[in-house]
């Protein structure tokens, strides 16, 4: 659809993150996989190799591992602003799942939609916003077009 037909937002951060201290916005990640299905092979390998290191490196994120009979293994990421993002990891390798998990960790929970401007500032003007009266010499009486002798 067009940009007008789809939703969009301005560049923002959750709770001015980074101004004071940086808080990792991912609060919980759940890995739902099957113990026997072929599609969860990458997920099982990731659990064997990479998940413990990931959990140690991100102490602020709780990692849940739920083996249950399912055809499509999933990663469910919950963010501090309440958004929940679900990603299918069917047939992905352990490395791909690890990269996906890193990507989810680095995201803030804001929606991935069109960002209207790639910049945002709270102090848009230092010397004062220009308006048509800035640097205009004052005059007494109404402004008139210049007379015939001034025009070339």
């Amino acid at each position: 659809m067009t940009a007008r037909g789809t939703s969009s937002r301005f560049l923002q951060s959750v709770l001015q993150n980074g101004v004071g201290r940086y808080v990792c916005q991912l609060k919980r990640i759940s890995l739902i996989f099957s113990k026997n299905a072929q599609s969860s092979l990458g997920a099982r390998n990731f659990i064997e190799e990479g998940v413990v290191d990931y959990a140690k490196k991100n102490p602020g994120t709780v990692v849940y591992i739920s083996p249950e009979p399912c055809r499509i293994p999933r990663l469910v990421a919950e963010y501090l602003n309440g958004n929940v993002k679900e990603e299918k990891i069917t047939g992905k390798t352990s490395q791909e799942i690890s990269d996906l998990v890193t990507k989810l960790t680095n995201q803030s929970g804001l929606d991935i939609i069109r960002i209207r401007k790639p910049y945002h500032t709270d102090s848009p003007s230092i010397q004062g916003q220009w308006h048509p009266f800035t640097n205009r010499p004052p005059s007494v009486g109404p402004i008139r077009p210049p007379g015939k002798e001034a025009s070339t």
């Binding site: 709770l15 101004v19 004071g20 609060k27 759940s30 602020g60 501090l80 309440g82 848009p124 003007s125």
Partner: protein, 334 residues
């Protein structure tokens, strides 16, 4: 089951698959478009429209929840060292304790055996509120030294309104951990829980860390806000005159600087305030009075040092704590 065998041989070409559930029961399946799906979906939508959406559930009642791991992750995420029992006590609200007691009484347990060994967060809450207010007042006075007492207290009051505090608490994950009677957690309960968490932090790591926590999460809510949005001033000109007399400046005199479209439906007047023949502030408005009031507000902002182009506040990082030893314990099984 001769009939079943005959039927299966002839009908496989139609795409019907039979499943022997037991000797006398045969279940038919097709892999094509399900004919019952449309009716079922319509009935479920009608049921949803009648009954409304299902009631919200606490996060602790949904799958994948480990309270101890979540509380540890909460502390690690904020880079703060909390004492676990104090933090867990900070999340327990009196309404939750009351509801739990009632539930145990309704189950028929004896009152003595059913006593809930949970301490609620009443004292932590009052301490937290007092702590927050003191810290914010000191911080306001230190960051904006020219702001008078009413202005500073207006800023502090704004920062301590339930809307601001609950917005901060919700985006820090406090709502999931709060134990309260109703869900979603009401604003005053969440406010109390956040203040109790601040008090728990002060008990665990000292008042300095609690101050840094409040500075990093609560005072950042002032970014992008204008002074007179938070502090409603009815007579800015009078306040400006007071401020000038306090500083020993001569009284401001308003003068019309620019005007455009005075007889149209959108006139514009620029009024400047002069102290001792030097321009203090200028402000626009649709009428002369409005322009003078706006000029007075601009002058006040300049005198109090709360302009848009002021030096940004100092949020230099706190001295780093060592990585907490709780990260190994966070790998508990669900």
């Amino acid at each position: 089951m001769a009939s079943g065998l005959l039927a299966s041989r002839g009908v496989l070409t139609l795409g019907l698959h039979y499943q022997h559930v037991c000797r006398s029961v045969l279940v038919t399946q097709t892999r094509q478009k399900k004919r019952w799906m449309k009716a079922y979906t319509r009935i479920m939508e009608a049921k949803l429209k009648l009954e409304g959406p299902p009631p919200p559930k606490r996060r602790s009642e949904k799958p994948n929840w480990d309270f101890h791991a979540e509380v540890e992750a909460f502390g690690a995420r904020l880079q703060e060292n909390f004492q676990m029992e104090r933090l867990k006590a900070a999340f327990v609200n009196p309404c939750y304790v009351r509801v739990e007691q009632e539930r145990r009484g309704a189950l028929g347990l004896e009152p003595e055996t059913a006593v809930l060994a949970l301490k609620d967060n009443k004292e932590l809450r009052t301490r937290g509120v007092a702590l927050t207010r003191d810290f914010l007042s000191d911080w306001c006075r230190a960051s904006f030294p020219s702001l008078p007492a009413e202005g500073a207290s207006a800023l502090v009051d704004h920062l301590m309104t339930p809307e601001v505090v609950c917005h901060v608490a919700r985006n820090l994950g406090v709502e999931d951990l709060t134990m309260s009677a109703e869900v979603p957690v009401p604003d005053d309960v969440l406010y109390g829980t956040f203040c109790a968490v601040v008090a728990a932090l002060e008990e665990s790591s000292g008042p300095q860390r609690a101050g840094l926590f409040l500075r990093d999460f609560l005072t950042t809510q002032l970014i992008g806000k204008d002074l007179f949005d938070l502090w409603s001033v009815v007579n800015p000109m009078g306040l400006l005159v007071e401020e000038c007399t306090r500083r020993g400046l001569p009284l401001p005199e308003p003068r019309l600087l620019r005007s455009a479209g005075a007889s149209t439906v959108l006139p514009l007047f620029f009024v400047g305030l002069y102290c001792d023949k030097k321009l203090l502030a200028e402000g626009p408005g649709e009428t002369l009075l409005a322009a003078e009031e706006e000029a007075a507000r601009v002058g006040l902002r300049k005198l109090y040092g709360y302009t848009e182009n002021r030096r940004p506040l100092d949020f230099s990082p706190a001295p780093q704590l060592h990585a907490s030893q709780s990260n190994t314990q966070a790998l508990s099984s669900g």
